[in-house]
Symmetry: C2
Subunit: 126 residues, 2 copies
């Protein structure tokens, strides 16, 4: 069911606008019991939301973490927001794991992606 | 002129919508000469753009970096996009520093922030 692929180091691609991005920035508190498990579970759970497109995530050693999660439309976001297990996790986040956070919900108007052409080993013809 | 405050570990706050967020996700290449200096310079330069609101940034050891930069309106974004020094840096980024990247430009429709109340040392009255 929720097989998920190996995490590879690649940014989520650009999709055809409009779509939504939820930018979630957090600073962790000193209380992290259970955080890693719940975070992994949320990453699994969100993939079951119809219209979930992908997620980019990175954290600094100082405890600031930046997550951008992409959704096809507002309905997908609404479903994720209302998910009971997700709400429970949010509650614990506020009570225990986060010193502070900000959530920005935004509609993507344009996007583009770049991938470097592989360097070829062959010299240019000439 | 462009004094900037100590970097503190705190997420950028929630602003009054609408505003814009540029989500820029990158995977670095193996060629990083000059990257740190240019990145620092861009972080300084963007602060001079009227309507720039702030930036959250984090990177993984694997080379994935997630940046969310906030702007008051589309004009602020247009100004930043057209900045000559920024364009030059983008060009170098594609030629040298990035394996791949994605840019999502999105209009924030709602946002909220949470900050944990400081734990007090005093016991509850009663």
């Amino acid at each position: 069911m929720s097989e998920h692929p190996e995490v590879t180091v690649a940014p989520v691609q650009a999709f055809e606008p409009p779509y939504y991005v939820a930018v979630f920035t957090t600073v962790s508190s000193e209380e992290q019991d259970g955080y890693a498990e719940t975070s992994a579970r949320m990453q699994e759970l969100v993939q079951e939301v119809p219209g979930f497109l992908g997620m980019d995530h990175a954290g600094t050693p100082g405890g600031l973490s930046v997550t951008a999660a992409y959704f096809r439309d507002a309905d997908a976001l609404t479903e994720w927001r209302g998910n009971a297990e997700h709400r429970e996790a949010q509650k614990r986040g506020r009570a225990e794991w986060y010193q502070s956070y900000t959530l920005h919900i935004a509609k993507v108007e344009r996007s583009h992606a770049f991938t470097r052409a592989e360097a070829t080993l062959a010299p240019e013809a000439g």
